[in-house]
Amino acid sequence: MSRPRLGVFKFASCDGCQLTLLDCEDELLAIADAVDIANFPEASRRMEPGPYDVALVEGSITTPHDAERIQAIRAESAVLVTIGACATAGGIQALRNYADLDEYIAQVYATPGYIDSLATSTPIAAHVKVDLELRGCPIDKGQLLELLTALLHGRRPVLPTHSVCTDCKLAGNVCVTVARGEPCLGPVTHSGCGALCPGYHRGCFGCYGPRRNPNAPAMSEVLRSTGTTGEALQRAWQGFTTADPIFEAEVKRLQQESE
């Protein structure tokens, strides 16, 4: 059997999620043996055309050109996996969705006419069918290895959809909200990081996006009890996964409530 062909593609992003693959220092050479890394520009000059058995897609769609490019990548990829908060939920750059883009461009660039950019930053799934997703800003190395191993063996990867709060209980962490009064999005946030922030005495800021079936309004009430109110409460939902529909809806609900 020939080795599966892997493509790694970048859209608007920080490169951190694809770097996670190069950060697999102990496994990288074994991965390169098991998989034909046919297109991974950050790591290799060899950029071969599709079709690809697996495409890892990092970044969000923010330009007209990228909106076309993702269609072409989808067309030549059997399994398309989005990796990280930009690809799965628009990334921090989706804060532009709440603002006037022309004003943004004028704030950053002296000659706005040179810039070709869409008004919104949108997740990959808003443009093409996505087969699997890895959450996180950035993704977790262990989850990436689980994904690649599962795909190589023709099974679905095990990627739990419960909350960070559950992981925190399993890890035996003392609750940062109860014990320290820290605002924490752990109850509504998707598992995957191993409840990292609470382990460092810090509230979760939701970089894996929503867990399955979260109760966002109830979360807002708990955040209020820690003193996070008004616009600060809205900002708590406007982080690295702000274009996720559930987080976006909660911001809109809070905005309406305050009007």
Partner: protein, 431 residues
């Protein structure tokens, strides 16, 4: 043949999306452009109205390869605005975190992004077939750098443990011990990799642009000023904008920076030239032995300087761990403060060169104005100048060799295009 074009539509083994276009007519360069088509993300715009204490976490997302640099420059700027002074032990721990990022980022570049150029190979995975020991040793050294960031930052990419005023939690003694063991095991592997790069064949090129770097005079710099240059500059972060000015050009989504109107260079070669005296004697000697006596004026030899800096970072990390007072680890992880209105400037030495942040903050601790100047935006003109200087040599080479050489010259700077694009300056007209 009097006309010719080198066109690289998508530069490989750099962070981010860029392209090169080089055209000769009648044997002379007609057009030379390093263009950056990485889509802009407008950090400086959406930072407005966010809390200043969010700046370290938000700006980390500009770059997944050097998030610690963004966190360090952001903290320095916000701490200055709030009048926060970091006690020495916490300052040392920030240096320790930065050591990890230098090792991780430098060794990534040395072994995986740059070394393949010296063998005409497409990538490090291919290089590992003929030089497995070296690539495996480099991966182990890189992993040790990541172990520092992981231990102190919580994770390698976008660490979560840095906050304005210090850290969220200080390491536990057993975490410190485990890290020391890992670094000691990786140290000889890293030195072997550095000595290996000393055996490479380096293309000839001599450049003379000014270097600019932090230069405290008593220590090799991570987060200590002032800024100095090889042409006599010496200024504090607060005076950055009096000297560094950026311009917007059509071919690039990144602004081009100039130092008092002229092109200049930041990064390992600049730090090395301005701070060589601060390196320990054994590393000074090793630098000379592998062909990197200061100042290194051939950009193709930058891989050697990254190696020396990686070893410095490894030894400095061990020194900090060895001198860590157990009482520090039992003490407060951060200085408390009350947000207040003000302006703060912060500089630090990202792996690719000095990184400047400025924040104007209101009474509520919200950001009114943000300004970020990343190293690659500063080096863009120097990269192009190197290509101009190489153009006659490239003309003599066959197409494939010339293309490879031009790419290699760009990779000499370890350009981070993601950074360059996301750090554009706010114009005054916007208000």
């Amino acid at each position: 043949m009097s006309e010719r074009t080198i066109k690289v539509d998508y530069l490989a083994r750099v962070e981010g999306e860029g392209a090169l276009h080089l055209t000769w007519k009648d044997g002379k360069v007609d057009e030379l452009a390093l263009s950056i088509f990485e889509p802009p993300r407008f950090f400086e715009a959406f930072l407005r109205g966010r809390e200043a204490i969010e700046a370290p976490d938000v700006t980390a997302r500009i770059c997944g390869i050097c998030p610690v640099a963004y966190q360090m420059s952001a903290c320095a700027a916000v701490e200055q605005a709030f009048g926060v002074e970091l006690p020495e032990p916490l300052h040392q721990l920030r240096r320790l975190l930065y050591c990890g990022e230098w090792i991780e980022s430098h060794v990534l570049h040395i072994a995986m992004l740059h070394a393949p150029d010296f063998f005409g190979m497409p990538d490090a995975m291919t290089l590992a077939r003929s030089h497995k020991d070296e690539v495996v040793a480099a991966l182990a050294a890189k992993k040790a750098g990541n172990a520092i960031v992981n231990m102190l930052g919580g994770r390698e990419i976008h660490p979560i443990n840095v906050k304005v005023g210090g850290f969220w939690r200080l390491p536990r003694p057993e975490e410190v011990d485990a890290l020391r063991t890992e670094l000691l095991a990786a140290r000889p592997k890293l030195e072997a990799v550095v000595r290996w790069t000393g055996t490479f064949d380096f293309p000839e090129l001599q450049r003379d642009q000014p270097f600019m770097a932090l230069c405290p005079g008593d220590v090799y710099p991570f987060i200590e000023g002032p800024v100095r240059s090889t042409v006599g500059h010496c200024f504090e972060a607060a005076d950055w904008r009096d000297h560094v000015v950026e311009e917007h050009v059509e071919r690039s989504n990144a602004l081009h920076a100039r130092l008092d109107g002229g092109l200049y260079q930041v990064g390992p070669l600049a730090r090395f030239a301005l701070n060589f005296d601060q390196l320990p004697a054994n590393l000074q000697q090793l630098a000379v032995d592998i062909g990197a006596a200061p100042p290194v004026r051939n950009p193709f030899r930058s891989i050697l300087v990254r190696g020396i800096e990686s070893l410095y970072a490894m030894d400095e990390a061990l020194r900090i761990l060895d001198t860590l007072d157990p009482a520090t680890l039992r003490g407060e992880p951060a200085v408390s403060f009350t947000p207040r209105a003000g302006v703060g400037h912060g500089v630090s030495e990202a792996p690719r060169g000095v990184l400047y942040h400025r924040y104007e903050v209101d009474d509520d601790g919200l950001i009114v104005d943000a300004d970020i100047v990343p190293p690659t935006a500063q080096n863009q003109l120097a990269i192009e100048a190197d290509l101009w200087a190489l153009a006659d040599d490239l003309w003599q080479l066959d197409q494939e060799t010339a293309t490879l050489r031009a790419e290699q010259a760009i990779r000499n700077y370890d350009p981070c295009i993601s950074c360059a694009t996301h750090f554009l300056t706010l114009t005054k007209e916007a208000r």
